[in-house]
Symmetry: C2
Subunit: 305 residues, 2 copies
């Protein structure tokens, strides 16, 4: 099965204590697509400007990602610049230029109107809703959002959430969206808004998932090199959705497939943070991925029967 | 096998957004001993004042904890008062009165000079060292410390660490002790100071362990009620050491026993934080503990063979 992702494709300028990169291809949809492409066919819907040339397209096309939904419009590509402090947990945005992304209005190409899995990247919830209206109901709809939309467009966000199966957001955003400091209670409140499954990203502390069964939580891989956390959450979501597309089988997606998918999302995020920008995702083989997945399984398991 | 713990026994006054308690029996050694006593015989070495009466002693004695090493001296028992903010991750110390703890100089009673397992609670590293000099080399020495000693008595602390097998400290303390922001690298630096095993407490995000084999990490249990985090770390250490004393068997303590012990430490911490003060530890049965252990195993496992 294939995955359609709608979201930002951007040029990022990143500074961390360990190095920097200028105007490299980034954006949520880019990280998502590169991670998911390790498992399945990925289609990207987004918008870039005239400054996004063939070499930039190649970053994604080289992984077999379909860019027929990536509009190239007059103007400049979305640019973001940020700086991370030494502990890599807090970052400062130095510059944001929305460019063509300011007027982005996703149009799903004919060839993608019946996606198996759909992921609504972190964009205006009205645009996310518009995507849901355009496509034939996918088997699974995943969605990301952020504090900006929770604070500024809550009614729109709630409408979108009513059509979402799996919400994938940060720990603090989950608490903010629910207006509840306890994560377990927050999850119940969010699930009552629509998503049957809430997946909470906890950065260097891993991830947690809440569905109809018992909750699930994993730590993150313990890495001796973390160079750049940019895109970790998007790589997580891409790895998870890509794995589900490839491995979930027919019928409804079961708890154990979801757990494995979350573990695979953690694995993909770990590759991203070890290098700068998307570099860690470019040359991955399935063998290296599976090797790290096994390492991750060993990391957190105890009391094996 | 039995466990000897040396550390503080105190009166705590606790305020959290969910309630408060005045002058209740607390202190690191108390939490540790109550948690460990669910698994094995525990001996406490500490000091209390004249205000520590038979009813206070009963809190520990009711669990079969040996208090022959708890000196009762002229003066007042150590008192601590603290307040937690709504997210329960940060706390403010409102008052500290060391009382008899100021001149505490641990003397190990004759009957405890050959402990199977020893835990050096978070006290002056010179006193921890003095305890190590008094006892016959235990099978396992565990140790806690804090930023106060890392910053104020580093040379003494390093001397103590040279005689410690397992150091159990917070995430930020591990990074501070090593002078290294990356936890994996910090663990290697700390293990070079003496402890063969470093166990890192990460509060609501669980725990990690670094030894000679592959690293280990677990999330914390996801609880819908967290009333008071006081003593969580000490309960964790007590559950871990108590479990090891009861279940590690003869010979050196293997990786899988240690992993199970860390999981059990997490379980005991979860009981502590659900109630105020030590209340959550008082009426535990092994059946309830084992039930939650199984719940914890289910929480974090994926890809079972």
């Amino acid at each position: 099965m294939s995955v359609l992702v709608v979201g930002s494709v951007a040029f990022d300028s990143i500074e961390t204590p360990f190095g920097s990169r200028q105007d490299v291809v980034g954006g949520a949809a880019t990280y998502f697509a590169l991670a998911a492409s390790c498992f399945t066919k990925v289609h990207v819907v987004g918008a870039v400007g005239e400054d996004f040339g063939p070499a930039h397209m190649q970053v994604l096309q080289r992984r077999g990602i379909d860019l027929s939904g990536l509009e190239r419009v007059k103007g400049k590509t979305f640019r973001w610049a940020g700086r991370y402090s030494y502990d890599l947990n807090s970052r400062e945005t130095l510059d944001t230029q929305l460019g063509v992304f300011e007027k982005f209005n996703p149009r799903i190409p004919e060839s993608c109107l019946a996606p198996d899995l759909l992921f609504l990247g972190n964009i205006d919830p009205d645009l996310q809703w518009s995507v849901l209206q355009q496509v034939k109901r996918p088997r699974l709809v995943g969605c990301d959002t952020m504090n900006f939309w929770i604070e500024g467009k809550l009614a729109s966000l709630k409408r979108t959430l009513s059509g979402v199966d799996t919400l994938v957001i940060n720990d603090s955003e989950a608490r903010e969206l629910a207006g509840e400091a306890n994560l377990v209670k927050a999850a119940a409140l969010i699930r009552a808004m629509g998503p049957k499954i809430l997946i909470v990203k906890r950065g260097e502390f891993g991830a947690a998932a809440f569905g109809s069964g018992a909750p699930f939580a994993v730590p993150a891989l313990l890495l001796d090199t973390v160079n750049d956390p940019t895109g970790a959450g998007d790589s997580f979501a891409g790895g998870m959705m890509g794995y589900l597309a490839a491995h979930a089988g027919e019928g409804s997606i079961g708890e154990s497939a979801l757990r494995r998918a979350i573990a695979m999302g953690s694995v993909m995020a770990s590759f991203t943070v070890q290098s700068f920008g998307v570099e860690g995702l470019l040359d991955l083989t399935r063998e290296r991925i599976d090797q790290r997945y096994e390492e991750f399984r060993r990391l957190s398991h105890f009391h094996e029967a």
